[in-house]
């Protein structure tokens, strides 16, 4: 890239950052509230992206894993009195451990079987959350989750929480890009293109897949942590199959290997769901239609169609 291009990128980035930082001062509370959800959801969506775009695996368990992160912090803070910040690492760790324990063996399965296994994991986690009343309060959920705070300062309003979610979302984005730019990213793309060829160039396929699974769980757990301390109430129905489908759609719609695309798709789809909320069942019908039509006509996400055309032209083929 030339110097002027680098400079331009920096200007654009700075402008975007400034807009994002100034945003809560101008926007109505409701919009900031939505923005928080969008930013929080980018975490499980990007996490899922490690599996879908880069490893070629579909998972329908991300909603449950998001829930594990949320419930871990909810229980540690309400039942054992931990301060919220201290529970971040345990929440993420718990999600990763559970995901690898339940799904580690399944990730070596052929694609369709892996999807099936993740459905099993999703349902098992949801059923346990719903029925292990002594631990999770079951259908009553966990209430009065404390807000995250430093000393006396508490992040109790959408505007205050916004800066945390923005910071976390930006860090998550940068980290995700670094991960896919690392050798692991190369290995994952290689094995998703041709697993046999990948192992023939010394890629440890099994290990790479489990790592991808662990990463997807870590991102989900982190997102769950934020969610629990934002809405301050968790219930198993927030982490069911519908949530998993939602994250999957967001992850697939942005273009299957584009982190930026996933963020964009999350923003668009969440805004759409919010906009349609007053319409009740019709909102859900619209949502289902978006899924269906999207898969019928844009199976690889909208952004990849654009990318492919540019690349083929460069190679002199079209």
């Amino acid at each position: 890239m030339t110097t002027s291009e680098v400079l331009r990128r920096w200007w654009v980035g700075a402008a975007v950052l400034a807009a994002l930082l100034a945003f809560p001062a101008f926007a109505p509370r409701y919009i900031v509230h939505i923005a928080n959800f969008i930013l929080i959801y980018t975490l499980p969506v990007i996490g899922l992206g490690f599996l879908t775009g880069f490893t070629g695996r579909v998972s329908l368990a991300q909603g449950a894993l998001f829930g594990v992160g949320a419930y871990t912090t909810a229980l540690l803070t309400t039942k054992f009195g931990w301060t919220p910040i201290a529970t971040f690492f345990p929440s993420v760790l718990m999600t990763v451990v559970l995901a690898v324990a339940l799904g580690g063996a399944a990730v070596r399965l052929a694609g369709l079987y892996f999807v099936m296994a993740t459905i099993g994991i999703q349902q098992i986690v949801w059923i346990v959350l719903m029925n292990w009343i002594d631990l999770t309060n079951g259908p009553q959920g966990v209430r009065s989750i404390p807000a995250i705070g430093l000393g006396d300062y508490r992040l109790e309003t959408p505007q205050k929480f916004y800066f945390l979610t923005l910071a976390v979302a930006v860090i998550s984005y940068i980290l995700a890009k670094r991960v896919i730019g690392s050798r692991l990213g190369l290995y994952l793309r290689a094995l998703s293109d041709d697993q046999l060829a990948a192992s023939s160039v010394a890629v440890e396929v099994g290990r790479a897949k489990v790592t991808a699974l662990a990463l997807s769980a870590a991102w989900a757990g982190a997102g769950g942590f934020l969610y629990a301390h934002y809405v301050r109430y968790v219930h198993p129905d927030m982490f069911g199959l519908e949530a998993s489908v939602l994250y999957l759609v967001m992850s697939m719609f942005g273009g299957y290997r584009s982190i930026a695309g996933m963020v964009l798709a999350t923003g668009l789809l969440e805004s759409a769901t919010e906009y349609l909320r007053p319409f009740g069942e019709f909102r859900m019908i619209a949502y289902g239609m978006i899924l269906l039509l999207g898969m019928m006509f844009f199976p690889k996400g909208i952004l990849t169609i654009v990318r492919r055309r540019t690349s083929a032209r460069t190679a002199g083929k079209t």
Partner: protein, 287 residues
């Protein structure tokens, strides 16, 4: 108590088996899983309900009408919708889930609350051993049996059925010997919709029908199919019965809270241990 649980389990097991058959039929032909199958089951129940509430049909014609309508619906949807989802598994899965969501909520618009189903099977209470149950349970098992026998006869002895089997075994070769593969696929979908819808009518009188009844049933029928072998018809039936009985026994003897867990734990263990299922054969699945 055991007899009671066993009979109850057999009845739900039959439902899982029949709905599961829908999964299996589509999978054998296309190597794809249609996740709207549970919602088709639900639609069938409501279809039956709507008809039974207006017209006083005896059971057999009711089942037949619902089956026929669902069959037609299946063929139409294959043409309009499913055909565009064949790119790969992931696309098909997500697309069919989207379809399921549309069906669930479309029904929800008209029936937001659970509705009781007319007792088309009569309301006698039968006693076998120490178990007492509504005669509807008995009819569920019998109907399933008849359905399975009819399907088997169709596949084994009719030309159409043999054509479907040929396409399931190897679509390319079937095409070269003159089988209309596209029509066979459409018929397979029609069949999978029909059986699920019929199952919906069968279960209707036993419980209330509601727009979300397809969700859990669909997932458990799916687990049953995977457990028994998703490319094996007898395997799916066996899987459905086993899961139905096991979950009922677990619910009775261990705890009713974790009853639902049975199907999914079995699913997960089966996939890790033997993905092709109990009776499934090793079909090449793209990795």
């Amino acid at each position: 108590m055991f007899d009671q649980l066993l009979i109850g389990g057999l009845a739900t097991g039959c439902i899982y088996a029949v709905v599961g058959l829908g999964f299996t039929l589509v999978y054998r032909t296309l190597r794809m899983v249609n996740f709207a199958q549970g919602q088709v089951f639900m639609v069938g129940a409501f279809l039956g309900l709507s008809i039974a509430q207006r017209v006083h049909l005896p059971v057999l014609p009711l089942l037949f009408v619902v089956g026929a309508v669902a069959f037609a619906l299946g063929m139409v949807l294959e043409r309009l919708v499913f055909r565009r989802l064949y790119h790969n598994h992931e696309v098909f899965v997500v697309g069919s889930i989207g379809l399921g969501i549309v069906l669930t909520n479309a029904v929800r618009v008209f029936f937001p609350e659970p509705v009781p189903f007319p007792k088309v099977f009569g309301s006698h209470v039968v006693q076998i051993g120490t178990a007492r149950f509504q005669e509807a349970y008995f009819w569920v098992v019998v109907s399933t049996l008849v359905l399975v026998v009819l399907l088997h006869a169709m596949f084994a002895y009719t030309r159409g059925g043999r054509a479907l089997r040929a396409v399931a075994a190897d679509a390319e070769i079937a095409g070269t010997v003159g089988v209309n593969v596209n029509r066979a696929i459409a018929l397979t979908f029609g069949l999978s919709f029909a059986v699920a819808a019929i199952a919906g009518v069968l279960i209707g009188p036993l419980y209330f029908v509601s727009f979300d009844m397809g969700d859990m049933v669909g997932l458990k029928a799916f687990s049953a199919a995977v457990f028994g072998g998703i490319n094996s018809i007898p395997g799916t039936i066996l899987g459905g019965l086993v899961i139905g009985v096991l979950e009922n026994l677990a619910g009775g003897y261990i705890s009713s809270a974790y009853k639902d867990l049975v199907a999914f734990v079995i699913l997960l263990i089966m996939l890790i241990w033997r993905p092709t299922g109990l009776l499934g054969r090793d079909t090449p699945v793209k990795v």
